[in-house]
Amino acid sequence: MDHRLLLIVLMPLAGFLLNGTLATAFGGRRVDRRVVTAIGCGLPMVSFAIALWCFAGLQAGGAPLAETVYTWARIGGRAFDVSLYLDRLAAVMVLIVTGVGSLIHVYSVGYMKDDPGYGRYFAYLNVFLFFMLVLVLGRSLLVLFVGWEGVGLASYLLIGFWFDDMDKARAGKKAFITNRIGDAGFLIGMFVLYQAVGTLDMDAIDAAFAGGGVPVSASLVGILLFVGATGKSAQIPLHVWLPDAMAGPTPVSALIHAATMVTAGVYMTARLSGVYAHAPEASQLIAAIGAATAFFAASVALVQTDIKKVLAYSTISQLGFMFVAIGVGAYGVAIFHLYTHAFFKACLFLGAGSVIHALGGAQDITRMGGLARRIPVTFVTFAIATAAIAGLPPLAGFFSKDEILWFAMASERGGSVPLFAVAALTALLTALYMFRLLWLTFLGAPRMDADVARHVHESPPTMTGVLAVLAILSSIGGFVAIPRYLEPLLPLPPVQPALEHLEAAVMIGSVGLALAGLVGAWYFFREGGTRGSAVGARFGRLRRLLAGKYFVDEAYDALVGRPLLWISQRVFLEFGDRRLLDGSLDGLASLARRSSGALGRVQTGSLQRYALIALLGIVATLAWTWRHA
């Protein structure tokens, strides 16, 4: 029996166990850095090699690989297996996860060189990879959910990696808790699905909905599962954790919060396309939320001053684009954008890491500038990735974004002009804020402190090499026609015949938007952003709204956080616990004390009173005797 899929999954797990026990304070730090690096980077590369082998087999006309690892539980006659499944969609995901993952592992060698938690870092990174592979290769929703939760855990551990800083630890907590809120919807969706279909294997679920006759509304299931996706993929309303997650090390932001983990929601909805194809209401909702999130995040990114926060909001926005594609039925296109986004976003984040490394830890772009000559490799790769995300041809982002815009307008399953308008506006904003970032960070006169400026240096080859590879992938990756590759599995939606002739126009339009963004950024942010700040000062209130991220966090705190705290404090603690529970117990005790005090007053010490009571007793006894004798 073929165990290649299991090996893919187990390689990073072995890395986690080895590094976790030998290289951390837990195990006594028995091995030195080179062994940690070899284990931590080598095992993901082995996974990538095996994945390539499986992919080659699939390309040669093979059937999807399915492996049953073991039977997890038998409950009431039904068996729940742990099985792994590799079809075209899973192959794309596995290659992205292991490939980009291995590159980021290599980058981390240079970035985390001086950190005392080096071994712990690689252990956590490997465990993340393990859970992500479980998520992607799982055959049933149950296995996917295990991976889903596991990556949430890894994300928490890595965001709060420098846990001595309370803010960073709190950011990790926020990420985990927000994810869990989404998972409640996911779980209920799973329960409904199991009740209706009788199995949790995703290919079986898709087939059941395609065949019809499932006794539950596909839209209901779709919306419930999408709630989980909003948590994991940072869409409205559960997007609040992603900007805070930038507290973690930059390679973590690149791997988890750009390339892989946040795309799990997109993958899950694409995998269950059989359900969403029959759920028009759910699909409309997804498209609407995706578009709203994309626009909202892009507008906030326009005024951010932390280099990583700009990229975080950019990720939220691009994920919104992916969900727009899902919402109009173009599942393969969403995966295509996921694929290209992994390359250029990882390149952008790692480039930002390189900048931060060069400046000795500074992240404020208003105090950067003039770095292009001093760290040329970083600048060139960053520029290439920026052009890719803006959508300039022939880079990767152009192909995927153009397809999304086209289907947003023309798909028969929910495409409409308003949707296209919002998406197009967001594309313009994307180009604008990304080129703004490029200009303020690298070009113009230097605006940093003199001694920081003196220490600017290019990053080591482990870091710049990875940047180069990712930049190359961002350039040529778009030529791999992922949607057509995935067509047998994820058919593209039909296009409205009336709009068919607009395809070329949309393409030209999207290029135009990208160029407009480039020119706009050059115009407003050329001289260290003075013209941009002047515009910002004129629209002061709008600027404050955007800078405050539309005050969503504050709204959540006021509407949910504080009432919950109030209920816990006043209702449950003071009333329920102290007054009811403690009060009843204390009340019983004081009842005993008071009654004993009252009864004790019978003993007055006066003999005559005792004698009187005895006399009364005699009288009573005599009376009773003579009544009943």
Binding site: S606, Q608, L612, L615, I618, V619, W626
Partner: protein
């Protein structure tokens, strides 16, 4: 004749007891008690139980009450028990006592009456001592044990008192 004397002495005993209740000075209470006991002795004599009558006077009046009178004279303390005779429990006690009397009288009234006419012969010392030592000698011994205990206790009390006051 005997009947009339019995009634007379009986009434006298009750009257003396009532006088005991209201007298203030303990000495007057003692004297009233002596009168009551003497009346009771008269009752016993009128009934023909001469032994008991004599013993009543000799032991009760002659020993017990003399001792009482002696102690009253020794402890002539004019304290609050003189000025305020009755305890706060007067009213409830009176009520309870009346209830007791009522309860007990119920029995007395229902008691079967003796066959009329027959009056038992006088009970002299000879008859008494015969009955005493024939059937109740064990009780006598036990009582003497009690008396010994009383003597020992009295000595102990005196000694304790002596130790405390030098």
């Amino acid at each position: 004749m005997g009947g009339a004397l019995t009634v007379l002495f009986a009434v006298g005993a009750v009257a003396a007891a009532a006088a005991m209740l209201v007298a203030r000075h303990p000495m007057r209470v003692a004297l009233a008690l002596i009168v009551a006991m003497l009346c009771l002795a008269g009752v016993y004599a009128a009934l023909g139980v001469h032994v008991i009558a004599v013993f009543q006077v000799l032991i009760y009046v002659g020993a017990v009450m003399v001792f009482m009178v002696y102690v009253i004279m020794l402890l002539d303390v004019r304290d609050t028990s003189y000025t305020r005779r009755f305890s706060p429990l007067l009213v409830p006690a009176v009520v309870a006592a009346l209830a007791l009397v009522a309860a007990l009288l119920v029995v007395v009234v229902e008691a079967p009456s003796a066959p009329p006419g027959t009056s038992p012969p006088p009970f002299g010392v000879r008859a008494f001592s015969q009955a005493f030592l024939d059937e109740y000698w064990l009780h006598f011994e036990l009582v003497s044990v009690l008396l010994v205990a009383a003597v020992v206790a009295a000595i102990a009390v005196v000694k304790a008192g002596a130790r405390r006051h030098g």
